[in-house]
């Protein structure tokens, strides 16, 4: 059975930058400008936006877009594969999200310097390429040896422990519970190998204050839910 949601949701605002052969601005700036224009066109304020849809190939990270626009609570974000060929897919996705109640206002965006930075052939002819916003973000952590998720999370953990009086043992109880459940799964790497809090506390540091047993193992494998 299919459920029609035609006519149940609406496009309430449109925004675009000018189109040129050399924008002179970063892709992120273009993304922010068109989103900003669309939100204003709709008569909304950024903190009313709670959904986002783009293409998988778009390099403008939802976090960057939200941060620059002043979006507070994002309840839905999703990405559609392909690019221009699946343009309708993004609108379709946003309409479904709004219709289902996952969010109230979804921002659909796509921005890039296709001509001046990522023109076809740039990859083989050594074109400028431009800076990817995601890599620009990494530029604030990688040069300082913050290269892994454990290191990024640990920075939050230290502050969290300081602010709320949480201890490493408190974190350990989560790992103990995770491993208790993994121990019952015949396909799990740690099948029948639960851990104790003592083992958690005794495990070596990965990024202090996180122990080895705070971190997930890097495993090869596949899984689907149905």
């Amino acid at each position: 059975m299919t459920m029609s949601f035609a006519g149940k949701t609406a496009v309430v605002g449109i925004g675009a930058t000018e189109f040129s052969k050399d924008s002179g601005r970063s892709t992120l700036r273009l993304a922010i400008e068109c989103c900003d224009a669309a939100i204003r066109d709709a008569g909304l304020s950024p903190d009313q936006i709670d959904g986002m849809v783009s293409f998988t190939v778009d390099v403008n990270d939802e976090i960057d877009v939200a941060r620059n626009l002043g979006i507070k609570e994002l309840r839905h974000f999703s990405r559609i594969h392909h690019s221009g060929g699946a343009a309708c897919g993004t609108i379709h996705q946003a309409a479904m999200a709004v219709h289902s109640g996952a969010c109230n206002y979804a921002l659909v965006y796509r921005a890039f310097n296709e001509r001046s930075e990522t023109r076809f052939g740039a990859g083989v002819t050594g074109g400028s390429g431009g800076a990817s916003p995601v890599m620009v973000e990494f530029g604030w952590s990688l040069p300082f040896g913050m290269l892994t998720p454990a290191s990024w999370v640990a920075m939050f953990a230290t502050r969290y422990m300081h602010q709320y009086g949480v201890t490493s043992e408190d974190f350990g109880r989560i790992s103990v519970a995770d491993r208790k459940h993994a121990a019952t799964n015949p396909k799990a790497f740690f099948y029948q190998r639960p851990i104790t809090l003592e083992e958690h506390q005794a495990s070596r540091w990965v990024v202090k204050p996180l122990h080895l047993l705070d971190c997930c193992q890097e495993s090869d494998g596949g899984r689907r839910w149905s």
Binding site: R25, V136, G145, M155, H162, R204, W205
Partner: protein
């Protein structure tokens, strides 16, 4: 040659080195009066802000009654300078006062030199217009020693300083090691270069929106993005002000001071481009924004949330400058500690020193020490050093600054005995720590002895003791 013959040879050489021991030189006069410009250069190089050295109004009200020279400058007053002028040359074409032992050691292949110990005793602080005279003698020459720096001989000179009236003002025992380059182990030899081989950290990807930040770092300033319309500050940079919607974003230059907001100690996985355990910090700048960085010269068990830190922009390799942080330098005490308020066992707050090329070269020039190893990288390498390194007078100047900043402007330094170990090369961070060894009344004077050490990545660069007289509490 048989062993006895070798020994006899070595014995004869040592005898020739010791020929001058105990003979006091003629009295010579220092080139310049004690003067404000040289004092100012010194204080600038050492970042010694004690007002008794440079601010006449404050100095007039101090225990000194007027401007005085930093006592640790003592030997800089008699340094010849960049090159001896014609009137400073002897008939043999050598600088007047050049010790024959140096020529003998140079000829025998002990061409490298490093100062190892300096003991200053101060009878009084020098005032503007004083003109020092001095005489010198060699008090000791060691047999050949195998040291970490190389095979060589130590020798010690004693210099007595008098003022224009012939009154004694201070003396110095100064020990140097003359050694054969390439005969030692780390950290002085070129092998130590491995420890300083640039470690190419990952490059930050830079966009049009973040270029201003990295351009600033290359110029030595930490720029924080500022909205031109509503003055909000952001880091990392935005393309649009989320508060007011403006796209016109400028920046302010941070004062570079802040506090540790959070920190981690990275242990695993390890990459050869970093030193582990690696201390990463999230610094909350005084301006309010936060920045991720590394904390240098601080061990993981010393760091804590709220710890004051300051910016130290460093070239981690020749093509990459990064905004890194060091422990904040403690504030200079403006009201001098009273003797009654200090007791043995008291700890001095640690103080970091960024070992920059500017500090090394600036300190050497301010102390009129033009040895090439303190300013010329290529020549330093030819002499077996991986880089230029700090001269002992700068080490002494920084040591006395550390203690006088802790004690206050009216503390009187009576003596300073320092010993050098691991060299200070550019890019390192030296951290001073100190302890009050003793506090006792001597003839009604409140005398304390402070033990200090300044440690860098190789170990102790400088260690020693300083004796100070502190003002006493006035009883009503």
């Amino acid at each position: 040659m048989s062993d006895p013959e070798k020994n006899a040879d070595a014995g004869a050489f040592l005898d020739s080195l010791r020929e001058g021991v105990g003979i006091t030189s003629a009295i010579r006069i220092t080139p310049d009066d004690v003067n404000q410009p040289m004092i100012r250069h010194w204080c600038d190089a050492m970042t010694d802000h004690n007002p008794v050295y440079t601010q006449p109004e404050i100095a007039a009200k101090s225990v000194h009654g007027g401007i005085v020279a930093p006592p640790s400058m003592l030997d800089s007053w008699f340094m010849i300078g960049l090159a001896p002028r014609p009137e400073q040359l002897s008939d043999e074409g050598k600088a007047v006062g050049m010790l024959p032992i140096i020529t003998k050691l140079d000829t025998a292949g002990f061409t490298s030199v490093v100062a190892t110990n300096s003991t200053h005793e101060y009878d009084r602080y020098l005032k503007l217009g004083d003109r020092l005279q001095f005489h010198q003698s060699i008090t000791n020459v060691s047999a050949e020693k195998k040291t970490a720096l190389g095979v060589g001989h130590f020798f010690t000179t004693r210099t007595e300083f008098m003022d224009q009236d012939g009154e004694s003002v201070g003396r110095m025992d100064f020990t140097i090691l003359k050694f054969k380059p390439g005969t030692g182990s780390i950290p002085m030899t070129a092998d130590a270069g491995a420890a300083f081989a640039p470690k190419q950290r990952p490059r930050p990807e830079i966009s049009r929106d973040t270029r201003f930040f990295w351009d600033g770092i290359d110029l030595g300033e930490l720029r924080i993005q500022k909205c031109d319309d509503c003055d909000s500050l952001y880091h990392p940079p935005m393309v649009r002000c989320p508060k007011c919607g403006a796209y016109d974003l400028g920046y302010v230059v941070s004062k570079g001071r802040g506090k540790v907001y959070s920190f981690v100690e990275v242990h695993h996985p390890q990459f050869p481009i970093f030193d582990y355990p690696l201390l990463a910090v999230l610094v909350e700048l005084d301006e309010g924004t936060r920045i991720l960085s590394n904390l240098l010269g601080v061990s993981a068990d010393e760091v804590e949330i709220g710890m004051p830190v300051e910016l130290a922009i460093r070239a981690t390799d020749p093509e990459l400058n990064l905004p890194l942080f060091i422990r904040a330098r403690p504030a200079r005490r403006e009201t001098t500690l009273l003797f009654e308020d200090v007791s043995a066992g008291a700890i001095l707050a640690p103080c970091p020193v960024s070992i920059t090329p500017t500090l090394i070269v600036g300190g050497a020039v301010a102390s009129r020490d033009f040895q090439d190893v303190h300013h010329d990288v290529e020549l330093a390498k030819k002499r077996g050093s991986p880089n230029i390194f700090m001269n002992i007078m700068t080490s002494g100047g920084l040591t006395s600054r550390y203690v006088s900043d802790w004690a206050g402007p009216d503390a009187l330094l009576r003596n300073m005995k320092i010993r050098l170990g691991a060299p200070n090369y550019p890019g390192d961070t030296m951290t001073f720590s100190g302890l009050v060894n003793s506090a006792e009344l001597r003839e009604g004077k409140g005398i304390i002895e402070v033990g200090i050490r300044g440690s860098n990545r190789f170990g102790d660069h400088v260690s020693g003791t300083l004796e100070l007289e502190l003002p006493r509490r006035q009883e009503n």
